[in-house]
């Protein structure tokens, strides 16, 4: 007798069962995904491309500074110039929705794993599994459950991209100086309060790195999802492959690169204190603190009966 483990059959059976028992759930999710995608797509696709480019440039200026603003403008003009604007917007909407969902799911999971060793031990191999399983493999059952369109693309993307969010959130929270957490406990703070006031703020750089990776992985997966009719830049890449169309392939491919660089630089700048916004914010906080200090010092003078002249700092 031939040796054969019928994994395929089992998994088939499992997905059939899922489909039969939870079709209402998948249908609801499908509608939700489509609605979210349409909403985001509408936001970016409705205004003329040049307006969007200008807004992105301003955002780039605020986030990182003028060099990035110039780079972003040229990149987006390039996409417009190779006639990939609509595709890029579709892909962007797909990335944003999938990444948003991945963040919403992975951050709480990461926090949970950081606070509970058992959860951590279970999640670790699951996350390894999700991230190493070849991306295409998700697409097939996703298609079965969500039918063709953006919904299977979003679900496959979000599952594929989730892992670094969980991992880096857990890592960040576990990496917070143990003594500082103990300080919270020693003064009688509730664990939720310690999480909110100490652990999450101090783990922020790591959590941000996780979000950055989620977005980058989402983008790479979104291109693959184009193969199953999710549209966008991936759709054109797929078309270029099947038609051996080198020029179309490169135009769509380079647009993906531009999008990737923009998304990466934007998300990497969070919390790094680059750009105009951070500068404004910093000077605002510094001024507030200086004012407060001046007020304290002045009150001190009053308390002493104003014998000394008011100190000027």
């Amino acid at each position: 007798m031939e040796f054969r483990i019928p994994v395929g059959t089992w998994i088939d059976g499992f997905f059939d069962w899922l489909e039969d028992s939870f079709s209402w759930l998948f249908e609801a999710l499908r509608q939700l995904f489509i609605w979210m995608f349409d909403a985001v797509d509408w936001v970016f696709a409705t205004p003329p491309a040049l307006v969007v480019i200008a807004l992105v440039a301003v955002a780039a200026l605020l986030a990182r500074g003028w060099k990035f603003a110039v780079g972003a403008t040229f990149g987006l003009l390039f996409i417009m110039g190779v006639n990939q604007w609509d595709n890029a917007i579709d892909s962007l909407a797909l990335v944003l929705v999938a990444a948003f969902l991945a963040v919403v799911i992975s951050l709480p999971l990461g926090i949970w794993a950081a606070r509970n060793d058992t959860v951590s031990k279970i999640l670790k191999p699951v996350m390894d599994f999700l991230q190493t399983l070849p991306a295409f493999v998700y697409l097939v059952p996703a298609l079965g459950l969500f039918r063709i369109g953006v919904a299977p693309g979003i679900i496959a993307t979000l599952i594929f991209a989730m892992a670094p969010g969980v991992r880096l959130t857990e890592l960040g929270i576990r990496g917070v100086d143990k003594e500082v957490v103990e300080a919270g406990q020693a003064f009688g703070a509730h664990p939720r309060r310690i999480l909110r006031q100490i652990q999450i703020p101090l783990a922020m750089p790591s959590i941000m790195a996780g979000i950055n990776q989620i977005i980058m992985l989402s983008l790479s997966m979104v291109v693959i999802a184009g193969l199953v009719g999710a549209g966008g830049l991936g759709g054109d890449v797929a078309q270029a492959i099947s038609a051996l169309n080198v020029s179309l392939g490169f135009e769509a491919g380079l647009s993906v690169v531009v999008l990737a660089i923009l998304l990466d630089r934007f998300t990497a700048s969070f919390g790094k204190g680059l750009g105009l916004y951070s500068r404004w914010r910093r000077s605002y906080v510094a001024k507030k603190e200086a004012d407060q200090q001046a007020r304290f010092d002045a009150e001190e003078e009053v308390a002493r009966g104003g014998r000394r002249p008011v100190a000027s700092h």
Partner: protein, 432 residues
């Protein structure tokens, strides 16, 4: 049980990390040595019992790894005790609901950390106010109170800075202020000054002592530095391999080490700063009551072979001292009153004077240095040899050494005493 003078009580505390913790406690209780518990089981604290009195600085001292941090973390429940109980202000804090434990931490017991553990994203003032914030004190009030404490620790003008802008010593002042602002009776300090460089550390120790004198907090202070322990501790618990091997005053530990381990530990401590006059003084040998008269005084000095003696009132309060030669003259002249020759510059010191501060007075005093209690009673003397012997770590050596500041030759004294008995004036002249 609810003795008001006890701020914190630990009874039979055990902490075992790793597998089979409860079994390990039973084994330890039966006398199994700590290193035979098997791999993966660490007994960090073994059968620790002690009481900390209100307003006391209780120091826990031991080498790194001896279980100090584990012990102190059981005192506020950061570690659950494997066995035993902890009471804070008469209330048990082991095995109580998390909510109640949080309340006790808010109101009764706060902590200062070795590496400061400040919230880096908050200003100094917000850090100091942290405990009050957790207690639910309203914003205005907690700012006002935090400002007051910030001033007390000497950080006025730094309220709106962030911890990273402060030096190590200043950061630890913030840590101390945060604990003080919470206004708990008990303060736990785990190697709070160990990360600071020596000069700053001494400054912080002095400040802590001042604050403690002013605010009367109960402080449990952990250190691996014996000199620090001796300097700030009212009582010291010495830990070794998870066990408390001795609890006592700094002098106790220095002069009566419970075992070889403690003795070795205390070998290189600076004794002159720890030992006090009281701990090295001897019974005064030659003391003259003011009413005794010159003849009695001279007799005593002859018997003890001394060149002088302290003069005290009936209740032992000091009057001054006399030289044998002066008294000799009085006796020869047949005077009845000692008063004219009593010198008031006795230079005696208080019982709690550190050895380091005895050297100069000891040089200046003509007699063995007198030691007075708080009511000016002469309770002891310190001959110079005793002082030297105490420095060498062997106070007993003084007993075999003989102090002799050239008293009058005994025969001469005998003659004058005898002649004074008979026809005083005539014989006294002969004798000369």
């Amino acid at each position: 049980m609810n003795d008001d003078t006890i701020a914190l009580r630990a009874e039979g505390l055990y902490k075992v990390f790793g597998r089979h913790a409860d079994e390990a406690v039973i084994q330890l209780h039966r006398g199994t040595p700590r290193d035979e518990l098997g791999a993966g089981t660490t007994a960090a604290v073994i059968d620790a019992s002690f009481e900390v009195r209100r307003g006391e600085i209780f120091v826990v001292m031991g080498l790194s790894g001896s279980g100090k941090s584990t012990l102190i973390r059981m005192l506020n429940g950061l570690h659950d005790a494997t066995a035993g109980t902890v009471e804070v202000a008469g209330e048990r804090i082991t095995d109580i609901p998390a909510k109640r434990l949080r309340e006790i931490r808010q109101k009764r017991i706060s902590m200062v950390f070795q590496h400061f553990a400040l919230l880096p994203h908050r200003t100094v003032l917000d850090n100091v106010a942290y405990g009050l914030e957790i207690q639910g004190v309203a914003l205005d009030e907690r700012i006002a109170r935090a400002r007051k404490v910030t001033e007390i620790v000497g950080l006025k003008g730094w309220e709106e800075k962030h911890p990273s802008e402060l030096s190590g010593g200043m950061q630890q002042r913030v840590g101390l202020a945060r604990a003080l602002a919470a206004d708990t009776d008990v303060l736990l300090m785990d190697e709070a000054f160990s990360a600071l460089d020596p000069l700053i550390r001494r400054e912080m120790q002095d400040q802590l002592l001042e604050l403690q004198a002013e605010l009367g907090k109960t402080i449990i202070f952990i250190t691996h530095d014996l000199n620090e322990a001796m300097y700030i501790g009212d009582r010291i618990a010495v830990m070794r391999d998870g066990r408390i091997v001795q609890i006592g005053s700094p002098e106790d530990i220095l002069t009566n080490p419970a075992n070889d381990y403690v003795e070795q530990f205390v070998q290189d401590v600076d004794r002159t700063k720890v030992l006090t006059a009281e701990s090295v003084m001897r019974k005064p040998r030659a003391v003259v009551h003011i009413g005794a008269g010159p003849r009695a005084a001279l007799t005593i000095m002859r018997d003890e072979q001394l060149a002088g003696a302290y003069v005290v009132n009936k209740d032992r309060t000091i009057v001054g001292w006399v030289r044998d030669r002066d008294v000799f003259d009085l006796v020869r002249r047949g005077e009845k009153d000692l008063a004219p020759v009593i010198r008031s510059d006795h230079g005696a010191v208080a019982t709690d004077t550190a050895l380091a501060d005895l050297f100069i007075p000891s040089l200046e005093a003509a007699l063995p240095l007198g030691v007075l209690d708080s009511r000016d009673r002469l309770v002891g003397v310190i001959p110079r040899v005793t002082l030297l012997a105490a420095l060498g770590g062997e106070p007993e050596a003084a007993a075999t050494a003989t102090p002799r500041p050239d008293p009058l030759p005994a025969e001469v004294v005998d003659q004058v005493l005898e002649s004074a008995v008979g026809s005083r004036a005539a014989h006294a002249k002969e004798a000369i």
